[in-house]
Amino acid sequence: MFDVDIWQEILATIKKNKMRTFLTGFSVAWGIFMLMILLGSGNGLSNGVAANFMNDAVNAMWIWTGETTIPYQGMKSGRPIQFRNEDQEIVQKVSGVGVSSGRYFMGNTRYSYNKESGEYTTITCHPELRDVENLIINEGRFINKIDILQKRKVVVLGVDIKTALFKDSTALGEYVNINNVPFKVVGISTEPGSTRNRNAYMPVSTAQMIFSGSNRLHNLALTINAETLEESQAIEEQIRNSLAKQHKFDPKDEGAIGLFNKLEAYIQTMKIFQAIKIFIWIIGIGTLIAGIVGVSNIMLIVVKERTKEIGIRKAIGASPASVIGLIMLESILITTIAGYIGLVLGTGLMELVNYSMVQSGGGTPDQGESVFLNPTVDFNIAVASTLLLIIAGAIAGYIPAKRAASIKPIVALRDE
């Protein structure tokens, strides 16, 4: 029943009672505004931290070697552990391991092309390293399986190396001398979340052959398939046991091999954020309740104030339903408009914060670390909470309106 008359009645009342309307509207708008700010900040913090983790695969794990600290099977402590190619195969066989790569670092390798030259770090690896470190390939390709099998002399250059050696000319397909051995450039890469891209990647098999690395590896990088902290810890345990068996050290020896499980850190951090989110929701709901109480309070006063008017209307033929409708529609109209204003201001402010952060942060979230990212609120949540307030306002208006409509007109008329 859309009736222009009803709205004209309501608008006339609102115009007549500006202060009352403002107070009702303000408590609603403020509640929604605060909720948007709180949820937006929570999301921003959570998104920012999650994005930092995403620089590498979230489920990445790195294993490096050390010296034994516990005597084991008749061998003294202090014995160095050295990874070899077969260790990568052993780790790969552990159930729950996704992809894995060995890594062999060659520091200060000299790269030269024509007259340009420089010293950079060479990482020798398997093709799977790309997945573990989320490497971005700008041009060409990464190391592949055939490179490993045929021990091809190919190299993927970090974008900074490419710029230093080749300037603006094309590097793909050219040959660079690495410690005076020519390697073909097959790709240009960027590391996410890093401002320095001064690492070059070459097949581990080629490097071991040419630079007399025999079959040694410095460390292992891999991904694991685990959903929970417990699963990931179980996989970690298995890897440690297999390597301990291979290298004959006590599985409890923390010094023999080092292990960083990113998933574990990620899961723990996300748990903290879940707690923060719950906390934010509690505050947010508290704010909403304060808004609802405010609206209810004002509606009670409104109905009290209008008792005499209701009496007059009833005396000249208003039915109880029309009286209730009049008061409730007014309440709904005010809360809807005010809720919308709060919503627009709240999300608007968070968008502004987001915008200014992107501007000052110097570009994409790929670069530079930020703990605050995309601090915006899920549209559905925003709309749902506004609807909640509107419904609350309607109920808050309904109860006293119902009571006012049911008192006898003569009693209402006597009210001064």
Partner: protein, 241 residues
């Protein structure tokens, strides 16, 4: 038109109960011009409120235009009030944030008459009561007499069969009171039953039937010859004063 049989009404106030109407039997015909008199607390306003369906009664029966008025829903009562009864109050009871025309048009709003039509009709009634130029004024910009005329226009607009007026001249000076009474007289001449509650003898003397209440009972009904006597004493007394 109006038939009351042994109407009783008490108000419960905390523990004590106040028996206001103690058996009223009354018969009012269509087109009567009746005043209800009585001292304060005699139940005259209560009687009017029951007649106007603004209040309910405890015992007895009340027939209005052939309808038994008892235990009806608020919705039905509202509809009957809208169709049959027009109210005029001592304190005018205009809605303060509506202008004269909107106040007059309000009963038609509850009848579902479109806005333009009802505003036109409201203007007609305001013109009849000599308030055409005041149509866009708010109640607080008008004098008491003007406000009461707006209230009468509002009572008339739904073409009721009965006008119920509770001390319609109570807040007005005597000149304005007589003007208002003249208007009510004219309304009565058109065939509408007018019932007023008053405690002023000169006002009552202008009606064609006076019902005196005393302590919740009808004390006497003055009409015809007795009424002439009543009128002589009060209207004369006032003129000489």
């Amino acid at each position: 038109m109006i038939r009351l049989n042994n109407i009783h009404k008490s108000y419960v106030m905390g523990n004590s109960s106040l028996h206001v109407l103690k058996g009223i039997d009354l018969h009012i015909e269509q087109g009567d011009f009746v005043s209800i008199m009585g001292s304060s607390g005699s139940g005259k306003s209560t009687l009017l409120n029951i007649l106007g369906m603004l209040d309910n009664y405890d015992n007895g029966s009340y027939h209005l235009s052939g309808n038994l008025i008892a235990n009806m829903s608020e919705k039905k009562a509202a509809k009957l009030r809208n169709e049959l009864v027009g109210f005029v109050f001592q304190s005018f009871n205009l809605i303060s944030f509506k202008n004269a025309m909107e106040n007059v048009a309000l009963p038609l709003y509850y009848k579902g008459v479109p806005r333009k039509t009802r505003n036109l009709i409201a203007m007609e009634y305001l013109e009849k009561l000599g308030l055409k130029d005041w149509a866009n004024h708010m109640p607080n910009e008008m004098s008491g007499g003007q406000k009461q005329r707006v209230a009468i226009a509002r009572a008339l607009i739904s073409k009721p069969k009965i006008i119920l007026a509770d001390e319609p001249t109570g807040a007005l000076d005597s000149t304005t009171s007589y003007e208002v009474m003249d208007i009510l007289r004219e309304i009565n001449d058109d065939g509408i039953t007018v019932i007023i509650v008053t405690h002023e003898h000169d006002i009552a003397a202008m009606t064609s039937q006076i019902i005196r209440l005393n302590d919740g009972r009808i004390h006497e009904i003055i009409r015809n010859g007795e009424l002439k006597q009543f009128q002589k004493s009060y209207i004369h007394g006032l003129e000489t004063a």
